[in-house]
Amino acid sequence: MAFPTTGILDDFNGGDAQPPSGSWSDDPGDNGDNQLSQESNTVVSASGTSSGYWNPLTFTEAEVFISIPTKGGNGDELGLYTRLDAPNTTGVDGYKAEWTVRGAVDKCEIFRIDNGSLTQLGLDRTVEMADGDDFGFWSDGTTHRFYIDDGGGWAETFNEVDATYTAAGEIGLRIEATVYVCDDFGGGEVVAVGVIQDPITSGIIPFRR
C-alpha cells in the first residue's frame, strides 16, 4: 500500500523554539515528558525525553511519519502516536509505534494505549535503525502498520490488529534522549486513491492528478 499519502506538517524551519510552534501540545502520553524543541531547523529533545502532539486536527485513518537524520543511542526510543484521545491526561487512549535503539539489534513495537498504560500488540521485531532513515506509522482501520524507509523507499515492516480505538484522534511524536535529531514531521488523514480533499479541512496536500 502507498505510504505516506499525506505531506509534511512541520519542517521545523521557523527558528529555534520550544515547543516548535503553537500547533504542538505537550506530553501526549502523560509521562511527564518535556516539550519538543525546534533547533537548527530540526526537532529534538533538548533534555531527557520530549514529546508532543499535533493539535490543529484529528484523524481517523491516521498516518504519521518523521525523518531521522541522527539516530539515538542504546536504549533510546523514538515514538509515533495515532488516534490519541484525551492526550496529556491520565485517561489517554490511542496507539503508538516505537523504534528503539538496542545495541546490535534495534527493536520495533506497536502498542495500544489505555488510560496511560501501554499494552504491546504482538511480538518484538528487530530492524536496525540508521542515520537518515524515515519512520512511519499508519492506523488503517483496525490494522496498525509500522513503516520504514531506509533509503530504498517506504516499506511496511509489520502490522498488528486491534479494534479497540477507531475514532479520530491526534497524531504525535516522542523523542527519548538528546542524541536524536529528527525532521519533517508529517501525516494526517490517509488519502484514498482518486479522492480530492480540501487541504485546509483535512490537513493534507491535495491529490494532484
Partner: protein
Amino acid sequence: MAIGWFIVPYKREEDDPRPVRYCAIDDQTTIIIASGGMWTESEVLGDRAIVKVRASTPVLSDLDVLYKRLPKDDINQSLSDLSTGGRDSLKSELLDMGYENSEIEVSLGTDVRDNTLGDYLNFAATRRLKPRYDRGTDTIVLDGKIQSCKSIDDVNQRVR
C-alpha cells in the same frame, strides 16, 4: 512445523519506567522465530491472552512447560475425548479468567467436552477489561470498562 494454542499471562515490562505490559510469550519470541515459527495473540479476560504458535515440535514442548497449552491444535477439533481432569482444567481456566460459572454453562454447557476447541476459545475471547495505570501503587490495573477481544478467527488466520 506444528501448531499449539496456549493461554499466556501478561507481564509488566521491568526495564521500562512507564506502565508497559506485554504477552509473556514474547520472552520466547527468539526461539520461536529461530525455529521458523511465529505467534499471535488475542488479549482476553484475566490479564492473559489466547496465543497461537507455529513452531517446531521441540519448541512447542518447551513452551508447554512455561504456559498452559490447550489440548487440541485445530479449532475445529472436538474436545470430546478429554479426560475428566482435562475437562475440569479447561473450565478452571475460564473461572480463573473471571468468567462466571453460569455464563460458562450458558455458552458451553455443563461439560466443556461437548464443544470444539474453537467454541472454547471463542468463549474465552468474549470480553476483556480496559487497563489503567495506578500511579500510587505503580501497577497496571484491569478493572475498566468492558472491551472486545480480537477474534479467534483472526488469530487462527494470522498464524498458519
